[in-house]
Symmetry: C2
Subunit: 194 residues, 2 copies
């Protein structure tokens, strides 16, 4: 039953990866330690050899998800033929992202649950938020650093809010109107930010 140290380290990574996906899919409360361990092919009892509590895994999974998201943003903006921020906004507010919260932005998938998480979780998310804002500042069009940071925060807020509103709507027409309107307006708005 015992596995090598290398395999155990792999298991740990697999648990964090599975958790990052499953939590975004089902919410922190509706995904149990047992669910995640089963997905990795282990039993729930072994979990506590890897982590001291479910909360510890939640914090690690949040940071993992946010780091992966910013890395994906980097690729999307690098591949953009035209305006990098505009390409990112279209990518973020796509129907594809809407339909796959488990593979997308953690703040959009779990944002309103974060305020009720223990401080270790919020601290991990804060690190991720800073990375996201810093990345967006780099592709924002403003002339000064201060201005680009303001543009980054505004763009992030509008994208997160737009996606959450779209996911909370039962009518496909309103949903698409929200995604399209925000995607279309953010680039103009960013340029107007001072």
């Amino acid at each position: 039953m015992k596995v090598s140290k290398g395999t155990m380290a792999e298991h740990r990574e697999q648990i964090i990866t599975a958790a990052a996906r499953r939590f975004r899919e089902g919410g922190f409360d509706n995904v149990s330690v047992g669910d995640i361990m089963k997905e990795v092919g282990l039993t729930h009892g072994g979990f506590y050899g890897h982590f001291s509590s479910k909360d510890e895994l939640v914090a690690l999974a949040c940071l993992r998800a946010m780091t992966e998201t910013v890395a994906k943003w980097q690729k999307v903006s690098d591949d953009a033929p035209g305006d990098r921020l505009e390409a990112l906004v279209d990518f973020y507010l796509s129907l594809r992202h809407h339909d796959r919260p488990e593979a997308g932005c953690l703040v959009a998938a779990l944002g309103s649950e974060l305020s009720r998480q223990p401080s270790a979780v919020k601290e991990a998310v804060t690190v991720g938020q800073r990375k996201a804002i810093e990345f967006l500042s780099r592709i924002a069009p403003g002339k000064t650093k201060v201005l680009r940071r303001k543009q980054a925060i505004l763009a992030f807020a509008a994208m997160v809010g737009g996606m959450i509103m779209a996911r909370g709507t039962s009518e496909p027409q309103l949903r698409q109107e929200i995604l399209d309107t925000v995607a279309e307006s953010v680039p103009n708005s960013v340029r107007a930010t001072s």
Copy 2:
């Protein structure tokens, strides 16, 4: 033990009111039927004489919360000495709203949990979202109806996202930067929307 029909109707209202507050405070999953009934001064067993399921109460509580919020927005904008939308944005992105999710916007308090709720709940929220967007359209500055609606959707998205980001942050300085930046940028952004 039995009460009059009038009292029973009052109890029903009290249950919905308590639920609307407690759900925004703790999330749908972390507030039990028993918690809500206890707050109203009843026992959990009597709940099913009022509602067929917890989900039914969730839907009613969501609609209640959103309707109350839009009513409050109306008052805030009516009392504004200057620009009505600007006053509303400042009110929404205030530290006071940040600190009291249970008395504020449902989309900011529970937004990312909505996509996982049954369709009856999402339909109730959609009704509320339409009311919110229609209200914001009325105080938006655009020349045409179509333009004002776009401005309303952008402003709502930025406000929701800004509040959720602020509540998910553990650092007070970053939190305040997010609230201030979005509050300051939305009015300019709205004017730039076309």
